[in-house]
């Protein structure tokens, strides 16, 4: 058995592995991740049936920007954090992680330490206000054309053979060149 061999040849590694298994089991039970151990279902759960799905699109003067022409990494960096931004916007620009930080640290550490932890782990309104500007800079970098103005819209795509989009687009933010 692998662990027996490790124990015979390199005791320290063996104890590290056993401790890691123990701590990981504890944190898994608590629903807390410790990268590089994840708590993903890896597409294992039953996917519910929906008629449509919410998507984020980039609207330019030439129509919807085709994000498929970007690499997977560029698309992820551009599009994933928009959903994050929308969530914050919905909740009045408050960071939902704030509750977790409060649960873990409030009244357990001094006010100064607590403020420091909040600043280290949460986004404040200044970060969120600066976000559309950053987004435009990165967008300009990853595609060759510079658009004077770009609109980020949230909409729905309906599932059928043509995958048609709903008529209404809700604007998330508009950003223009200064």
């Amino acid at each position: 058995m692998y662990l027996q061999i490790v124990y015979r040849q390199w005791k320290l590694l063996c104890w590290i592995i056993i401790s890691a298994i123990f701590f990981q089991a504890f944190f898994m039970a608590k629903g807390i991740e410790n990268m590089p151990f994840f708590l993903y279902h890896m597409f294992g759960s039953v996917q519910s049936s929906n008629d449509s799905i919410n998507v984020i699109l980039i609207k330019t003067s030439e129509g919807y920007f085709n994000t498929n022409q970007l690499s997977g990494r560029e698309r992820e960096m551009l599009m994933n954090n928009i959903s994050y931004f929308i969530e914050r916007k919905k909740q009045g620009f408050s960071d939902p992680l704030g509750q977790t930080v409060a649960n873990r640290f409030k009244n357990r550490v001094s006010n100064t330490t607590y403020n420091y932890l909040q600043k280290s782990l949460l986004n404040d309104s200044a970060h969120l206000a600066a976000y559309p500007g950053w987004w435009k800079h990165y967008f300009d970098q990853v595609q060759n054309k510079k658009y004077a103005s770009v609109e980020i819209v949230s909409t729905y795509i309906h599932f059928n053979s043509s995958m048609y989009k709903s008529q209404t687009d809700s604007v998330v933010f508009t950003v223009s060149n200064k």
Binding site: I5, Q9, I32, P36, V46, Y84, Q141, S161
Partner: protein, 279 residues
């Protein structure tokens, strides 16, 4: 007379190959505007509920690297240079540490800025083994990484059984719809789009693909007991990731290093007359 086999993994032969592979991954990061200095100083952070991310964010390391372009550029240069040094000078530990810590920091910074913690971490795990210089210890770490990868994929297969995805007839069809809605709207024609649409419209066929994928993941359990079928496991893993890429647009460049522990390194070492000088 050359030996027919050897007990330990040939670290000297493997280090240049693995770090060249890692270097190519860093080139991929560069070509896709994903190195820290290319991110345009992102403003949002997303440590989520992850202790590793929390620790680094409390130390304010990701924020500092992301917010100072000069530091980000210096970081990219140091990481890339140390990776190159590891290719040409495999028998050292300092630059291996710098490369390993650097790739982990790059991952944390990228994920916190992107607002999602990605599971493609093959490029973080595999180089860790090279922190050990002695071939005995290196071999133990390398075997450990191999078991970890077997565990990871076996779990993914078990999840599909446990959470019900395997048995639900429409599961893959729904996954295809959800993962491809935007993609199909923006790119409605072409062979790939036609295949995806066909599979989404034929749940019976797509669900069998899902089940085959789950069986490939589950087959990694064999890796705990024998190395005889490693070649088949690599083929299975490659086809699995290629399928994910073509049907769900999940790239696997960063994850590709997980194939390395299944290569017949010992046999290659014997064939190439490589000996471990650091025993």
């Amino acid at each position: 007379m050359k030996p027919s086999t050897q007990s330990y993994y040939p670290r000297q032969l493997m280090a240049p190959v693995i770090f060249s592979w890692l270097f190519m991954i860093l080139i991929y990061f560069f070509s896709t505007n994903s190195l820290l200095s290319q991110l345009q100083q992102p403003v949002l952070i997303s440590p989520e509920s992850d202790n590793t991310f929390w620790l680094l964010h409390i130390l304010r390391l990701p924020q500092w690297l992301l917010q100072h372009w000069g530091m980000a550029l210096a970081f990219d240069i140091i990481l890339t240079s140390s990776c190159i040094i590891c290719i040409f000078v495999p028998q050292q530990r300092i630059f291996t540490w710098i490369t390993v810590i650097g790739t982990w920091l790059l991952y944390v910074c990228y994920c916190t800025a992107a607002g999602k913690h990605y599971a493609q971490i093959g490029y973080l795990l595999v180089p860790v083994s090279f922190l050990a210089l002695k071939t005995e210890k290196f071999s133990l770490l390398w075997e450990g990484i191999r078991y970890w990868i077997c565990f990871l994929y076996t779990c993914a297969g078990l999840y599909k059984l446990y959470y019900g995805g395997f048995a639900y007839q429409l599961n893959m069809s729904h996954i295809l719809q959800q993962m491809n809605a935007e993609w199909l709207f923006l790119k409605p024609t072409g062979i790939q789009a036609t295949i995806i649409r066909y599979l989404a419209d034929h749940p019976g066929i797509s669900q069998w693909l899902y089940r085959m994928a789950a069986l490939v993941e589950l087959s990694l359990i064999i890796g705990f007991f024998t190395k005889k079928f490693d070649r088949l496991l690599i083929i299975g893993l490659f086809v699995f990731h290629l399928g994910n890429f073509l049907l769900l647009h999940i790239p696997f460049v960063e994850q590709s290093l997980i194939f390395a522990p299944f290569f017949p390194w010992k046999k290659w070492a014997v064939n190439f007359h490589t000996t471990n000088s650091n025993d």
